[in-house]
């Protein structure tokens, strides 16, 4: 019957149902059907067409209706109600709220700071509009007959002009080099660390806003200089500085100021306060590709020019270097990738992308720990919420409504924590800044992009932390709950247990790593390096400073009672990197031994506390011998270390008096004990100390009784003898510590991270055990009545947790062992991983667990068992 009836066309009908106001839909659809059926008697097709026309004509403002209108008030009410319930619940369960908020706050604060750092590092060089088509040139060179090559951002002055002449892809070439320069502020010498020389094409390639002067001509011609705004204020005050002169260097060369640029963002790979014209250096040569002391940037015609240019560069350079016995290849680095991806540092130190990923991983791990604490607590709590869920379900709540309600609760807790975290992050910012050596401001925390990141983190955490409890709670069966047949499901318990194991594994892992890293750092600090670095001052006196002047300075210094020894040398014993080659006269000329060497004077061995094991120290006469102008008469004296002697095939005593050719001929005068003249990452290598009067540094061994007085005396003498240099000094042990900056930072990060993890894990455990205790209140009461002691109770209550913690220890220790082994193997000299480190970590964790649980145990103990047993 029904199928014989003509049925209106579906598409217009569906369209009608879609737009029509639901209040009117039934009536109008009835009308449409009635009219349609009447018309259909005269032909279905015509009726269909007329039906469609009717539907189209009905589509007008009075009839189109918004469906959601019907529900909107209701859902707002529900939202308000959910919010209220959430707040009441948080207020009711204060301990767990505090634990959750504290935990989340700790985690989110850490994440915020890490995110701030990562965002800053990713933003490097973004303000350069040409960044996509600027290339930094990396040179790789090697010599024929050897496969060894060296790579770096060093290039000679020839590269930029030749490449921009030869290749159409290269629009501009910019050569730069940075140096520290001595300037004079009120006639006092000041060392300015960020002094850079650059070609005049600099301002065509890079974006810097000129406040005064003309960018296109500012660096044309020698002895021109451009300052940043703040430096202009420092040296000249607020007046117009164009045309003023600035005296540069110890010989006070006048430079004409031709421009002032606006202070630029600090997240830049080019760091300079002063920009002098490249021609001022007088180094412009196109003879050789060697003598590579400069950095070259190329502005390419567009960002696609990298590959074609690279293809042409190799054949070109092969032709250029033909017959010279050396090979040079050029590589191009994209300017906007230098900061994160380049292993070569030119001006500002790079941050490796792996480091950022590592930090991101740390942040993620923290979030996971925090979320698992939340999950643990709220699944434990779910028994309390079960009744509510039951009633809600009976009153018609859909599962997804309940789900979003509990997610919403997590979101409320999260928002609360984010607010607290912002305050905490703002307070911790100064410490964080000194920690990562950046300069973040509180306003950076409030920038729109950062707020967006924070919002994303909040949503992510609410979803991650809230979804499991929400699933568990919303999935409960109302009939069973309301009958009172409710227990935590076994899957929830399993999840809780595995989360506890997970958290504690991380904690144990971090404790072990921290202890081992700390051990190694201690070992580095206290290791007998073979030289004495306490109470040793070093100063930079400048290369080739007149030796007579320095000699008098030295003898004046030695007059002070506190100054024990003074030496002029090229490098301090902390870090000696000068590479030389040596050979015995008996060896063929082509056979040489690579060796490190340090030009020193007669005071070096005594000032740095090296131990002579054979022969004797340099004397003043030896120094005179090395100072002779005539190369034929000049005699060098050498002191080797044991390794060098061994390499030459001598026992220490045998070496004394032998001839050795380093630069030119000389005699081995003594042998010292091996000492670490490089980072302990490297094994001790052969080294030769040789007599030379031109070292640029001075080391002064003082007694350490009156350090300020001694330094004041040294400064007073300095002013007399080296007046054109600022008096700057540092202590050798500080220099040594600075060499292990990365390791120290790692140590600090790990300690912090470990502390956070312990804190969070304990909080989680604390919350979890408190809920377990509440559930077992009756059992405890009965046990007490039957005469259980405190220890009995604790062992019963903690047994389960201890088991979990031991599993965690078993998982974490081998992992920590493997990872730390690979870290330690980077050091040539390292501590051993003693078994007791693992023991201690395990004991610490077990006792922390016991402590946490016994807090509840004590409370349960103190309570009168009548209380828990009376009510039923």
């Amino acid at each position: 019957m029904k199928n014989q009836k003509p049925y209106p066309p579906q598409l217009p009908l569906r369209f009608f149902r879609w737009y029509c106001n639901p209040r009117l839909q039934d009536y109008i659809e009835g009308d449409l059907t009635e009219v349609y059926e009447r018309r259909a008697k005269n032909g279905k097709l015509k009726a269909d067409v007329l039906f469609s026309i009717d539907v189209l004509l009905l589509c007008r403002p009075g009839i189109i209706g918004r469906r959601k209108n019907n529900y909107s008030t209701n859902s707002i009410d529900m939202f308000r109600n959910n919010f209220k319930i959430a707040l009441r619940n948080l207020w009711k369960n204060k301990p767990s709220t505090v634990i959750n908020v504290l935990g989340l706050t700790t985690g989110i604060t850490a994440c915020l700071l890490i995110a701030l750092f990562i965002q800053h590092e990713l933003s490097f060089d973004k303000f350069q509009s040409n960044r996509k088509r600027i290339a930094r040139v990396v040179m790789e060179y090697g010599f024929e007959g050897s496969t060894e090559t060296h790579k770096g951002t060093f290039t000679s002055t020839k590269v930029a002009p030749v490449l921009s002449r030869t290749f159409p892809e290269v629009e501009k070439g910019v050569r730069m080099t940075d140096a520290d320069a001595i300037l004079y502020l009120n006639n006092e010498p000041v060392t300015e660390p960020n002094f850079m020389y650059a070609d005049s094409s600099f301002f065509n390639t890079f974006d810097y806003e000129m406040l005064q002067g003309n960018a296109s001509v500012a660096l044309n011609g020698p002895k021109k200089i451009v300052l940043t705004e703040s430096m202009a204020a420092k040296y000249f005050g607020s007046e117009n500085v164009i045309g003023k002169t600035l005296e540069v260097g110890t010989n006070k060369t006048p430079f004409e100021v031709t421009g002032v640029i606006k202070d630029y963002p600090k997240n830049s790979q080019l760091q300079f306060d002063f920009l002098a014209s490249f021609s001022s250096m007088g180094q412009n040569q196109e003879k050789t590709y060697f003598n590579a002391n400069y950095t070259t940037y190329l502005l390419l015609s567009d960002e696609l020019a990298f590959a074609p240019l690279l293809e042409k560069l190799d054949p070109f350079m092969e032709k250029e270097m033909a017959g010279t016995g050396a090979t040079i290849r050029f590589h191009l680095e994209k300017f906007n990738e230098v900061h994160l991806y380049s292993p070569y540092t030119a001006f500002a130190s790079n941050t490796s992308i792996t480091y950022l990923l590592l930090l991101g991983g740390v942040a993620l791990l923290i979030i996971i720990i925090v979320c698992s604490t939340y999950v643990n607590l709220s699944t434990a709590k779910s028994i309390e919420r079960a009744k509510e869920v039951g009633v809600r379900k009976v009153s018609g709540a859909a599962r997804n409504q309940l789900f979003w309600q509990f997610i919403g609760e997590a979101f409320v807790v999260c928002c609360l924590s984010v607010l607290v975290s912002f305050c905490a992050a703002a307070l911790l910012l100064p410490q964080f800044n000194s920690f990562v050596s950046r300069n973040f401001l509180v306003t950076d925390l409030l920038s729109p992009s950062f707020l967006l990141i924070t919002f994303c983190i909040t949503i992510l955490i609410s979803l991650a932390a809230g979804s499991y409890p929400a699933l568990i709670l919303s999935g409960m069966q109302p009939a069973r709950i309301l009958k009172g047949l409710f227990k935590n499901s076994s899957s929830a318990r399993r999840l809780q247990q595995s989360l506890v194991v997970f958290q504690f594994s991380i904690t144990v892992f971090l404790i072990v790593c921290t202890v081992i890293i700390r051990n190694q750092l201690n070992y580095i600090q206290n290791r007998n390096l073979g030289y004495d670095r306490t109470h040793v001052l070093t100063m930079f006196i400048g290369w080739g400073t007149d030796s007579k002047q320095v000699e008098t300075f030295k003898s004046e210094l030695k007059k002070h009672t506190q100054i024990k020894e003074v030496s002029r040398c090229a490098s301090t014993p902390v870090s000696i990197n000068g590479g030389y080659s040596m050979r015995l006269p008996s060896m063929p000329e082509t056979e040489v031994i690579g060796v490190f060497a340090n030009p020193v004077d007669e005071g070096f061995v005594a000032a740095s506390g090296l131990q002579l094991i054979a022969g004797e120290d340099f004397s003043e006469a030896d120094m005179r011998g090395a100072e002779i102008q005539d190369e034929k008469l000049r005699r060098y004296q050498y002191i080797l270390n044991e390794s060098a002697a061994r390499q030459l095939g001598f026992m220490p005593e045998e070496a004394i008096g032998r001839e050795l050719i380093l630069n030119s001929g000389g005699t081995i005068k003594g042998v010292v004990q091996d000492f670490n003249f490089q980072s302990v990452h490297n094994a001790i290598k052969p080294i030769v100390l040789f007599t030379a009067p031109w070292g640029g540094r001075m080391i002064i061994k003082i007694s350490g009784d009156d350090i300020p007085g001694t330094i004041a005396y040294a400064e007073q003498q300095w002013k007399k003898f080296i007046p054109n240099r600022p008096f700057e000094y540092s202590f050798l042990d500080e220099t040594y510590a600075r060499m292990y900056k990365t390791e120290n930072q790692l140590g600090k990060v790990m300690s912090l991270f470990a502390a956070t993890a312990i804190l969070l894990a304990c909080m989680g455990l604390f919350g979890l055990s408190s809920y377990m205790m509440q559930q077992r209140m009756k059992e405890i009461g009965i046990r007490k009545v039957l005469g259980a002691s405190f220890m009995n109770l604790i062992s019963i209550l903690s047994g389960n947790f201890i088991k979990l913690v031991i599993i965690a220890i078993v998982i974490a220790c081998p992992l920590a062992y493997l990872i730390m082994q690979s870290w330690l193997s980077d050091f040539a000299y390292h501590t051993d991983m003693h078994w007791w480190i693992f023991m201690i970590a395990g004991l610490v964790i077990v006792s922390i667990t016991l402590l946490t649980i016994s807090i509840h145990g004590l409370r349960a103990m103190a309570e009168n068992p009548v209380k828990s047993l009376r009510s039923e």
């Binding site: 009536y27 109008i28 659809e29 009835g30 009717d54 004509l57 007008r60 403002p61 009075g62 009839i63």
Partner: protein, 115 residues
Amino acid sequence: MKNYQLGEFEEIVLLTVGILNNEAYSVAIKDEIESRLTRTVSMGALHTALLRLEEKGYLKSFSGESTEDRAGRPRRYFEITALGKKAMLYAKETREQLWKAIPKAVLEYQLTIGN
């Protein structure tokens, strides 16, 4: 003087609802207008007019029984409210006043031309 707003089509609909008395629902109104005035009425125009009249308070509606020929959907019947009656009377009176004010000659002339 109270201002009763009533458009031309609205007035026709209101009058037709009066004619149909208790049988006034949209399809019937449509048929009635179409047969009496020989003009086609689109469903959309009719429904909007009915809605507007209801909003103004000249009509009220009630749901009728659902019938087989409407695929089980109810009819929506309309009846005129007291306010609606006043509005109709007001419209009629104003027209009559205006009719009366027209000089006889104008009408006669018109009529003769028309004939």
